[in-house]
């Protein structure tokens, strides 16, 4: 096309607008840097861990490749049994929890049950309550000797022993059900139930099918993807469980794979070969589940959101109050009951002994609060949680930005790597990081510092954090940002005056959630903690394992207060995620 007039670029003098290929968004170099870091912290440790299972230590200190660990590890006591125990515990828990959660979600969203907001709050509180303090509360109630339930029973019947024992398989399943097991599923299912347009059911009713037929042919098939993904996530989360088994299992010799790994790593010398083989065996058996979840989550076909739907509520009639009573009691059981006993435990001279001259005391609070290890642990928790929140938010927003806003070719891999840690059992993630920090010379100086813990915690929350921020960015739309570029704003100016103010509520709430999950975290950091870096959560584990229930209760209470307050703040900010908080004053 010879359409140009004579102003063709000369070879020498650059035109006034001449620039090197200048990007106004994030450059590919930055994106590649993010990709490389993600590969190093997520994939590399896993590959290293897999590789280590084939690396056999020789007596002379060298190593050779071989299948020895894969063959001989299974001779180690309790290896196979721990995998069997894991699945047995999961199947028993989920068999109760899944139907219970579906029923609860259905009751709250599709019937005229009273007090729905209350039930919702119970579930959110239970979701954020850390497992260990809750377990502590239940132990105080159902301990075979001191447990209050057993004491009440012996006092009433004159029997020698009460019938309850939480240190059993049934006790373990109960502890799971009474923790977040049901609540988490409810939180996932309720929106799907709520968004189901009644018109779909009504169309079926008008076409001539009864309520049951409608449920079977219309409602269930529509909700099936939501059920499947919920089941998948629940199984993954249930399988990785660690804390409850760590406390309740060993007294009766019951080990699941995660506590088994922890046990063999803590032997002297640590049995790394056995631990890594067990971790890899479990991981490989989880792969189908992990990839299925990835596929379903990516397709996002499980939400049937319609903007104008009507929810025609089923009338419970005479059952309304009895059903409410049951749901209300359940809500109390997963929140107030364990917390009440936990609190009570902190004020008793010797837990469970009411007959002593002075049963109540503030002594535990005094001694624990002036205890140097506790102060160190509190400081550690604060530094650890604060750094995880700070660096986490910075990192998650970079990853989310690349995934939502750029056309970087490697963003699919970054997406996958940011999503993967959520599916990896925390103990395996921790083991992989431990192995990396001990065996890669560049990283070795960091072992024993808080950096290791922060890396583990940032990874542990990365999937949720990135998802939340990405959703927020997608919702905001690219045009808000582009409008700034076109009117003359540079990337930095745009980021400061448009992106940051709009993202601020999301960033703050993701930071708080990361902090809350760091404070309660046990499994991902259990193997990375050293004496100097021990946070509150690990201090509580140690006290519970030692049987110092009073001290454990005090620490547990502190953790509950920290997590609930911070998570509550996060929920509050997220709920007000309108833009009212940010005013035009940002101009300076």
């Amino acid at each position: 096309m010879a359409a140009l007039s004579g102003t063709e670029l000369g070879g020498g003098a650059p035109a006034p607008g001449r620039r090197r290929r200048f990007r106004f968004g994030l450059g590919p170099a930055m994106c590649t840097m993010v990709l490389v870091v993600m590969l190093v912290v997520v994939l590399y440790p896993m590959i290293l861990l897999l590789y280590s299972t084939f690396l056999v230590d020789q007596p002379d200190g060298s190593a050779r490749l071989g299948l020895d660990y894969w063959i001989h590890s299974w001779g180690e006591a309790g290896m196979g049994l721990s995998i069997y125990n894991t699945f047995k515990r999961v199947v028993f828990t989920e068999a109760v929890a899944v139907p219970a959660a579906i029923l609860l979600a259905w009751l709250v969203t599709r019937t005229d049950l009273p007090g729905k907001k209350l039930v919702d709050s119970f579930c959110w509180i239970a979701f954020f309550l850390p497992a260990l303090p809750v377990l502590m509360g239940w132990i105080l109630l159902f301990d075979p000797e001191y447990g209050l339930a057993n004491q009440a029973y012996t006092a009433l019947t004159g029997a020698d022993r009460g019938p309850f024992d939480i240190y059993t398989f049934a006790g373990m399943v109960f502890a799971h059900l009474a923790a977040r097991s049901v609540a988490a599923k409810y939180i996932f299912l309720a929106p799907a139930f709520r968004n189901l347009d009644s018109a779909m059911e009504e169309a079926s009713r008008i076409a001539g099918s009864g309520p049951l037929m409608t449920l079977r042919r219309i409602s269930l098939p529509i909700l099936m993807p939501a059920f499947l993904i919920m089941l998948c996530i629940s199984l993954l989360h249930s399988l990785e469980s660690f804390e409850i088994e760590l406390i309740l299992g060993p007294p009766t010799g019951f080990y699941v794979f995660s506590t088994k790994i922890y046990q063999v790593i803590n032997e002297d010398p640590p049995l790394f070969g056995v631990a890594t083989v067990l971790a890899m065996a479990v991981l490989i058996s989880l792969l189908p589940l992990i990839f299925y979840q990835q596929r379903v989550s990516a397709s996002r076909s499980f939400v049937t959101v319609t903007s104008h739907f009507s929810a025609n509520l089923l009338r419970l009639r005479k059952l309304r109050l009895p059903v409410f009573a049951v749901v209300f009691l359940f809500g109390l059981a997963i929140t107030a009951v364990p917390v009440a006993f936990l609190l009570m435990g902190t004020f008793m001279n010797l837990f469970g002994f009411f007959a002593v001259p002075e049963p109540w005391t503030l002594e535990h609070w005094h001694s624990v609060l002036s205890d140097p290890p506790l102060i160190d642990a509190t400081v550690n928790t604060m530094i650890m949680g604060g750094s995880a929140a700070l660096f986490g938010v910075m990192w998650y927003s970079l990853v989310a930005y690349i995934s939502a806003r750029t056309r970087y070719p490697g963003r699919g891999i970054i997406d996958f790597l940011s999503w993967l840690p959520a599916s990896l059992p925390g103990i395996i993630l921790g083991l992989a990081l431990l192995w990396t920090f001990l065996n890669v010379p560049v990283f070795r100086p960091l072992y024993g510092t808080i950096v290791v813990l922060v890396v583990a915690l940032v990874l542990n929350s990365i999937s949720t954090g990135v998802q939340l921020l990405k959703g927020n960015m997608v919702q905001l739309g690219a045009e808000l940002e582009e409008a700034s570029y076109v009117t003359g704003g540079s990337w930095l100016y745009t980021f400061r005056r448009v992106v940051l103010p709009l993202m601020a509520p999301a960033l703050v709430s993701v930071g708080l959630l990361t902090f809350a999950s760091a404070v309660r975290q046990v499994s991902a950091i259990a193997m990375l903690v050293t004496g100097d870096t021990r946070p509150l959560s690990m201090l509580q584990v140690d006290n519970m394992v030692d049987g110092s229930f009073e001290a454990a209760a005090v620490i547990g209470t502190l953790i509950v207060i920290l997590t609930l307050a911070v998570a509550g703040l996060a929920r509050f900010i997220a709920a007000r995620m309108g833009f009212s908080g940010v005013t035009s004053g940002a101009a300076g």
Binding site: A3, R18, R19, F22, R23, G477, V486, L502, F579, A587
Partner: protein, 382 residues
């Protein structure tokens, strides 16, 4: 009257002689294997309103985003006056913030955390204007777009029309070289859309800025623009004034995309004595003289379409003999439009649609005579 069967190159060459204010040369943009824009060239003159018109997916928005600098073309050159904005061959890409263009986005992109005043002041703060100048400039533009008194309103309380005015004010306040409008009226209801159209036209005359408008609505393009480029599958199908496009479409696509067209099938029988061509309609419906031809050569007995804008056809009661260029037909359906009828007729074996004034004698099933003015008829290959 202009020469019939005008070659398409002629229109374009007249464009090229004019001083090009903004020039696109050989722009190509692919998304994966999909060619969104395919070797596209345009010359836009200073101070004109230029529309990119086409169905969705024709590449018009992509073209606009490349002018703005929000997308980089895979190949091509974009220049504004004598400044090169983009040249893939020379590895030049001026980022959007240095192009001094204004843009109104389809969603308006009104920042929800700022007040009306702050949104409009934003481009001036970027440019580090003094506070007093900012204040004066913002108040002037706010008056021009009719938002006086709303300066301190939160942008979240604005209606669709107000949001558009804010977006317009933000795009104009720094006197950009070019104003880019991406489907600016598509989010407004019909009444408001008509009002905003007039306001925009008046504002553009007042400010004198060069405007590039992207739209899929032909009424919007025809009524607002000095010139229109009709786009299809990443290419420019025709560039011309609204009247040229309507009266002399260069291709069947442009003919059918802009306005309504009624086509009758027939066979070319020869040249008429007084100029034009005679066509024998199918099934003995009659013969017509067509004033224009878009045929490449006139093979005798070639299958052709005689096309006419439906409002150019005149309907009379079927009384007496047929006159010149008249055909007999039967009314099948009359659709009341308020100011006129949409009238469906059978004519020989064919069904055709025309617009007629609301004649009281028209009724469904009635026999009528249809007059096709020769100068309104053009021949197209079939």
């Amino acid at each position: 009257m202009r020469q019939e069967a005008q070659p398409r190159e002629a229109t374009i060459s007249t464009d090229q002689t004019a001083e090009a204010f903004l020039a696109l040369e050989g722009i190509t943009k692919c998304f994966g294997s999909f060619k969104a824009v395919d070797n596209l060239s345009l010359q836009i003159r200073h101070g004109e309103v230029f529309a990119l018109l086409g169905p969705s997916g024709c590449g018009k928005s992509t073209t606009l985003r490349q002018i703005a600098g929000l997308d980089q073309p895979d190949a091509g050159v974009i220049r504004l006056r004598d400044t090169i904005l983009v040249s893939t061959a020379d590895d030049i890409f001026v980022p959007p913030q240095r192009r001094n263009m204004g843009m109104v986005f389809q969603s308006y992109a009104i920042w929800p955390h700022l007040s009306v005043f702050e949104i409009i002041a934003y481009p001036l703060r970027v440019r580090r204007w003094a506070e007093a100048e900012i204040d004066a400039a913002v108040r002037e533009i706010i008056a021009q777009v009719g938002l006086t008194g709303m300066e301190e309103r939160s942008s979240q309380t604005l209606s669709g029309g107000q949001q558009q005015r804010v977006a317009l004010a933000r795009a104009l306040v720094y006197r950009p070289d070019v104003l880019l409008l991406d489907e600016p009226f598509s989010n407004l209801d019909v009444k408001l859309r008509e009002q905003m159209r007039v306001e925009l036209k008046l504002l553009q005359r007042e400010v004198g800025v060069t405007v590039i408008l992207v739209t899929h609505d032909q009424v919007e393009a025809l009524s607002l623009s000095d010139r229109v480029a009709v786009m299809r599958e990443g290419r420019v199908e025709q560039v011309g004034t609204p009247a040229e496009l309507y009266e002399e479409p260069a291709s069947p696509f442009v003919r059918d995309f802009i306005g309504q067209t009624t086509c009758l099938r027939g066979r070319l029988t020869g040249e008429a004595a007084g100029g034009g061509f005679t066509v024998q309609l199918g099934q003995g419906a009659g013969a017509l003289v067509c004033g224009h031809s878009r045929l490449n050569g006139q093979a005798p007995d070639a299958a052709v379409l005689a096309c006419v804008r439906p409002e150019r056809v005149r309907v009379t009661p079927a009384e007496g003999a047929l006159g010149a260029n008249e055909v007999a037909g039967t009314v099948k359906a009359l659709l009341y439009h308020g100011d006129r009828y949409e009238c469906w007729l059978t004519l020989g074996g064919e069904e055709v649609m025309i617009y007629t004034p609301r004649e009281p004698w028209l009724h469904e099933g009635g026999a009528v005579h249809l007059h096709f003015p020769a100068e309104a008829l053009s021949l197209w290959p079939r």
